[in-house]
């Protein structure tokens, strides 16, 4: 994984610095996320989004479809069946887009390390910008993760989406190892379908 191409963000921005700053500011303060609970961490999102912790304070809200979303939360374990849907949703999202991995399962398999049906390393299949420690992370940890992502966007370091585009072949290869019937009617072998 270390031999992946390191993306350069600036090349994607042709406008001048001032406009650049404004877009970054706008992007980081209005993160719309795809409301798609993949693992047990989805239950932690309810207190985080409702009045107790209220993530709309940070400019975060859910979106209706992947095409409107900026942020994809992988909330814990990801079964191979769900992975197919996740890839599909992720590739439909518009640039720039970010991914947060929740808890142990996305890092090294977690308590499902010996399961036949869950993936062990999320960043082999889609680029991950932030990992949150926990099993599952409490709402505070989730908010910290979101705040960290916001900082990263502001610092122009949240470059996972460019990494995915630039190393698309590599990611596709990994995905195909798990999803054996990838080239079916549902999964065309090209980007952004």
């Amino acid at each position: 994984m270390d031999d992946l191409k390191r993306p350069t963000l600036d090349s994607d921005f042709t406008c001048d610095m001032a406009f650049n700053k404004i877009t970054k500011w706008a992007q980081k303060n209005s993160l719309w996320l795809l409301a798609y609970g993949t693992g047990c961490g989805a239950i932690e999102l309810s207190p985080t989004m409702t009045s107790r912790y209220d993530w709309s304070r940070l400019g975060i809200r859910g979106s209706a479809t992947p095409r409107q979303a900026d942020l994809l939360l992988i909330t814990g374990y990801l079964s191979t069946k769900t992975l197919k849907r996740v890839i599909r949703s992720y590739e439909q999202m518009q640039d720039p887009k970010y991914v947060i991995g929740f808890g142990s399962c996305t890092i090294n398999g977690g308590m499902y390390y010996d399961s036949y049906n869950t993936i062990k390393q999320l960043d082999l299949y889609i680029p991950v910008d932030v990992y949150i420690n926990g099993c599952m992370p409490r709402p505070e940890a989730v908010l910290s993760g979101l705040a960290y992502l916001k900082d990263k966007i502001g610092d122009k370091k949240a470059d996972g989406w460019i990494k995915y585009k630039q190393n698309f072949e590599w990611y596709r290869e990994n995905q195909k190892k798990i999803l054996k019937s990838f080239n079916g009617d549902n999964m065309p072998d090209k980007y952004n379908w």
Partner: protein, 742 residues
């Protein structure tokens, strides 16, 4: 109709105006977590002993042990846990099972990073995300900083998830061993300790975590967790086999071992160590006869002969394991019974004669030849032994007591006896009259034994005089307590001055001075200093001296023995070098003289039975390498199934006898006649009688068969044998399975 309620209803929300919001404004404020909330690990790396129990119990395979720069020692492997937060699910089983209590879970739980590699973490060394195991930094220093940075807990506050002794999965109290009460036991030499029952042994064995730290402390490196595991599985057969792999006198060790293993046990710091010694004793007590149980393969004789001087633990160990490797072994013993100091020096209430006989008769039947009542230097010359044998092992032990060096000792004609001699005479069944009042001088185990034996010789009043305080006594704490229970008086800080004699030279009393403890100024242990004018006289009939023993090298011709008084000169002369009364050995316990090996009390500094056995095992390796020209004979301690074909089985069971100084293989009887079922724990008296009869029958057949002096292996006997084989293979399957598990 106007819906007033519908119009005014929303206005009720105004009642929340001015009230504090319900929202927690994270990160400006945080919600208090529950008292026992489980967050990131913290490990007190100084208190951690690296036993690896946390990693073994982890369901998620999240904990590895790594060497982070701590020195391994007796009770610390030097390893520390590394937690993978790509696996951990914060179940805290690792904390529940941590025997040293060093591991805990803090209430910190927020950690966010974009590099998944940083979620590997050595708790207690550095903050999460900063750890680099391979760094060259002083890790101990880092641990100190990390410890200081931890938030201090207020008194009574409980903000970390940590288990104390009463909680968690561990049982810190051992199953108590039943003993005879003090008043009963002074009446006879009956064994004081009663032994575990099957259920007690099981309960004690399941306490063992199987980490194996004890092995590091045992001089003999016995496979302690393995045989305890076998007890847990109630497979006493394989337990005995595992013990016999490197200890030919397990019952002796099970009763009187100094058990250094128990001080290294993970439970030792916070509770009672696992009763390793009692568990070994339990295993050996399950069998009346080891012959049918032990599966070790006895190799046929390879033509090399080894002579052993002294049938103590060291000598017997060398004899047993060399015989297994196919050597012709002869032991010369000055006394009429084998066992050395364990026979002559350990009182029978601690180590009954039957136990020793059981182990030694097994060895003798296996082919270890012992010449009793043969003192080397008197009955047989050392030169002769050197000429006859390909290798010689000396394990004569410390049998000569030091003189007390008191005024009147030389003049005394009766009433002064050394503890060693007293014990020896009592153990060999002699009648010893110690009168009504006895004083024992010394504070070691021998002194306590002397006192407790004197107490059993009748209605005797026994006093122990010791120079220092009771806590300075080198004797086992259990022994001291036992003596006190039995009514032995201990007078600490008493320095004996003079033995009072009557006209006939009989002891009438002892004069001693009280002492105060003063610092020796060098940071060592305090020295006793006489208090002027505090002389006291204790009227006694017998004085027992127990201030230490030495070896008697008089059997060695002068040209072989050299006394080196300092290290520089040692090893410079040809012959057996000694240094302050101990024989100097190197590597595989070889002495400075060619083909002479040595071990036991007169070699090692710990001077206990288990060290002697360890010396013996080391020497066995050395002798084997020496006689095979650097190639070690393979030993098969538990015969595997493939080896179980009939021929090998027959090899295994031939029986040796010595006749007119020659080793003769006697036709052995493999049928059900010889081999008695000894798996039963307790036997009916009727059955015992039958066994004795059977044995006698065997003896007579042996005599009849001993006429043909050539090696002759038995032919297959149809009845009974097949059954036995089946049984053996079953037990082997079990032990095989066990190995697989590991």
């Amino acid at each position: 109709m106007i819906d007033i309620k519908g119009i005014l209803g929303p206005l009720s929300a105004l009642k929340f105006l001015g009230k504090a919001p319900h929202t927690i404004d994270y990160p400006k404020e945080t919600k208090k977590t529950a008292d026992r909330y489980r967050g990131i690990h913290y490990n007190d790396v100084e208190a951690c002993i690296g036993c690896g129990s946390c990693g073994t119990i982890c369901e998620n395979d999240a904990i590895d042990m790594v060497n982070v720069g701590f020195d391994p020692n007796k009770a610390d492997t030097g390893f520390r846990p590394v937690v993978d937060y790509g696996r951990c699910c914060w179940c805290a089983l690792c904390v529940d099972v941590c025997p040293s209590g060093s591991l805990s879970l803090t209430k910190d739980y927020v950690y966010v990073d974009d590099d998944p590699k940083k979620f590997l973490y050595v708790p207690g060394l550095q903050e999460l995300g900063k750890v680099n195991i391979d760094s060259t930094d002083d890790l101990k220093e880092l641990a100190k900083i990390e410890k200081e940075n931890r938030p201090k807990l207020k008194e009574g506050e409980r903000s970390w998830y940590q288990k104390d002794r009463t909680e968690g999965l561990l049982e810190f109290n051992r199953v108590p061993m039943k003993e005879l009460p003090g008043s009963t036991r002074i009446k006879s030499f009956a064994e004081v300790v009663l032994g575990y029952t099957e259920e007690e042994a099981f309960m004690e064995s399941i306490r063992c975590l199987g980490c194996g730290l004890c092995i590091s402390a045992c001089p003999d490196r016995m496979h302690i967790p393995d045989y305890i595991q076998a007890i847990t599985e109630r497979d006493y057969n394989s337990s005995a086999n595992i013990i016999y792999e490197n200890n030919p006198l397990p019952e002796m060790c099970g009763k009187v071992c100094t058990r250094q293993c128990e001080t290294a046990c993970v439970y030792h710091n916070r509770g009672d160590a696992v009763a390793i010694r009692w568990l070994k004793r339990f295993t050996t007590e399950q069998f009346d006869d080891f012959r049918t149980i032990i599966n070790a393969e006895v190799k046929p004789l390879n033509g090399k002969k080894v002579g052993i001087i002294g049938a103590g633990p060291a000598g017997l160990t060398v004899g047993y394991y060399l015989r297994l490797r196919g050597y012709d072994v002869t032991i010369y013993e000055a006394l009429s019974k084998a066992g050395g100091m364990t026979m002559a020096g350990i009182p029978k209430y601690r180590f009954p004669l039957d136990s020793l006989d059981k182990q030694i008769s097994y060895m003798e039947e296996m082919g270890v030849r012992i010449h009793y009542n043969t003192r080397v230097g008197k009955d047989i010359m050392f030169d002769e032994i050197m000429d006859t044998y390909d290798a010689v092992f000396i394990g004569i032990g410390f049998h000569d007591p030091y003189d007390l060096g008191l005024k009147g000792e030389k003049e005394a004609k009766s009433g002064v006896i050394s503890a060693v001699e007293l014990l020896r005479r009592v153990n060999f069944g002699e009648k010893v009259d110690v009168g009504k009042k006895v004083a024992v001088i010394g504070g070691g185990n021998v002194a306590i034994d002397g006192a407790r034996v004197s107490k059993r010789l009748g209605n005797v009043d026994v006093t122990i005089l010791y120079r220092r305080r009771v806590q300075d006594m080198p004797a086992d704490w259990e022994e001291i307590e036992g003596a006190e229970d039995e009514g032995v008086h201990i007078v600490p800080q008493a320095i004996p001055e003079e033995i009072m004699l009557d006209k006939n030279g009989k002891v009438t009393g002892i004069k001693y001075v009280m002492a105060e403890m003063v610092d020796d100024g060098k940071g060592g242990r305090p020295r006793p200093k006489k208090i002027e004018g505090s002389e006291k006289i204790l009227p006694i009939d017998t004085l027992v001296g127990a201030i230490g023993q030495q070896a008697d090298y008089s059997f060695l011709p002068d040209e072989y023995l050299f006394k080196t008084q300092d290290d520089e000169k040692s090893g410079s002369k040809k012959g057996i070098d000694t240094f302050w009364g101990r024989i100097l050995v190197h590597g595989y316990n070889e002495t400075t003289m060619k083909k002479v090996f040595s071990g036991g009390d007169m070699v090692n500094r710990t001077a206990d039975a288990i060290s002697a056995i360890a010396d013996g095992l080391n020497a066995v390796k050395g002798i084997d390498l020496f006689l095979q020209g650097g190639k070690e004979t393979k030993v098969n301690h538990s015969v595997t199934e493939s080896d179980l074909d009939k021929n090998k089985l027959l090899d295994k069971h031939y029986k040796m006898k010595h006749e007119n100084g020659k080793l003769v293989s006697v036709k052995l009887d493999l049928s059900g006649n010889i081999v008695t079922e000894s798996v039963k724990i307790a036997k009916d008296p009727d059955e015992l009688k039958k066994d004795v009869e059977k044995k006698e029958v065997n003896k007579s057949t042996d005599k009849a068969n001993s006429k043909d002096k050539t090696m002759s292996y038995p032919t297959k006997n149809t009845n009974g044998e097949t059954k036995k084989e089946e049984k053996k293979s079953k037990s082997k399957k079990k032990s095989k399975k066990k190995k697989k598990k590991k």
